[in-house]
């Protein structure tokens, strides 16, 4: 009984740590701890239920161990705020007044693609259509929409992500790689690696952000051979 109790506690703590290290991508609308409990309880109850060679008490003790740890963590979370952040995580501001915060995204094991996908889920298609975007502790994206709603009228495509050209999207738009080079040259950007993110809308509106700088919006005339997607 005590052995089962210790084993359950060790596994539960390991799962919490792993889930926290995995970042916000792995969680869906639940706090990390709630998510783990949901995963575990079902399995703990299921195994002794279906396998008659295992005494029922093994399942009962494991469930009670999870319950005790849950209650303990609830008390600690209420009493010590840093502990709450450690266990449940804290919200991350991934878009601020300067644009996308790549460092904050990386901290949560997320990429620009994940951010754009989550933004689309909130009904915002353009990166500058929101003033602030916050990944909550449960992995859900909350946004504070900006006044500039013109940005979301067109569907943008991602051309550069974390200093790398998205060749698939360049081909989709029928643009050559010299298109990006020209923008880099015209804007006086040192190198492609300095661009954290660049998106293009069919009307020629470009959103880009350089390392450590505020994002910029460009309005350019697209080449005639480009494809209005």
């Amino acid at each position: 009984m005590v052995i089962i109790f210790f084993r359950a506690i060790i596994l539960l703590i390991t799962l919490i740590l792993v889930m926290r290290l995995m970042g916000k991508r792995q969680i869906g609308e639940m706090q990390p701890f709630e998510f783990i409990i949901t995963l575990l309880i079902a399995e703990l109850a299921c195994v002794p239920m279906s396998d008659v060679s295992i005494p029922l008490i093994y399942g009962l003790v494991s469930v009670l161990a999870v319950f005790i740890l849950h209650q303990l963590l609830t008390i600690f979370e209420q009493k010590f705020k840093p502990f709450r952040h450690l266990i449940s995580g804290k919200p991350s501001i991934v878009i601020n007044k300067d644009g996308v915060d790549l460092l904050e995204l990386k901290r949560n094991n997320l990429g620009i693609d994940d951010l754009i996908e989550s933004l689309r889920g909130t009904g915002n298609f353009s990166l500058d259509s929101v003033s602030y975007a916050i990944y909550e502790a449960n992995g859900k994206l909350s946004v504070l929409e900006s006044d500039n709603k013109s940005a979301s009228q067109e569907l943008p495509v991602l051309l550069v992500s974390e200093g790398k050209i998205d060749q698939k999207n360049i081909n989709l738009c029928h643009l050559g790689s010299d298109f990006i080079d020209k923008i880099i040259k015209d804007e006086g950007i040192k190198s492609l690696k300095n661009i954290e993110v660049m998106t293009l809308e069919p009307n020629g509106r470009i959103y880009y952000k350089e390392n450590g700088k505020k994002y910029k919006i460009l309005n350019i005339d697209l080449p005639k051979e480009s494809n209005p997607w």
Binding site: M1, V2, I3, F5, F6, R7, I10, V52, S53, I54, P55, L56, I57, V61, L64, A65, F67, I68, Q71, L72, T74, I75, Q78
Partner: protein
Amino acid sequence: MVRCLLTIIITSLIIISGAIYENYFIHSTFDEMHIMLDEVHQKLENEQATVSDIIAVQDFWITKKKHLHAYIPHTEIKEVDLWISECVTYTKYQKFDDAEAKIEVVRELCEQIPKSFLIKIENIF
């Protein structure tokens, strides 16, 4: 908060008292069983054992195993059942060497099973 603490205390008490009882019951049962097996082993060595000696061990085991099922995986209990049953048959046909070997296995099981309930690193991991 108070409710939280109360539930923790009550649940912990249930587990602790359950663990103490489990530990006591398993160890006392297997200790008793071990004494009986030692006696039978001695008789088998001297080729004086009878079927009723082994049946006495079997009966004791049958009465205790009903409760042991609550704590020990049923496969381990079944294993002891099988070894004792074999021992009964060998004794019946006076194959004392074979019966002794079977009793030796049961003795080993009766030593090992309670050890797996001790709080040790090897049992936890």
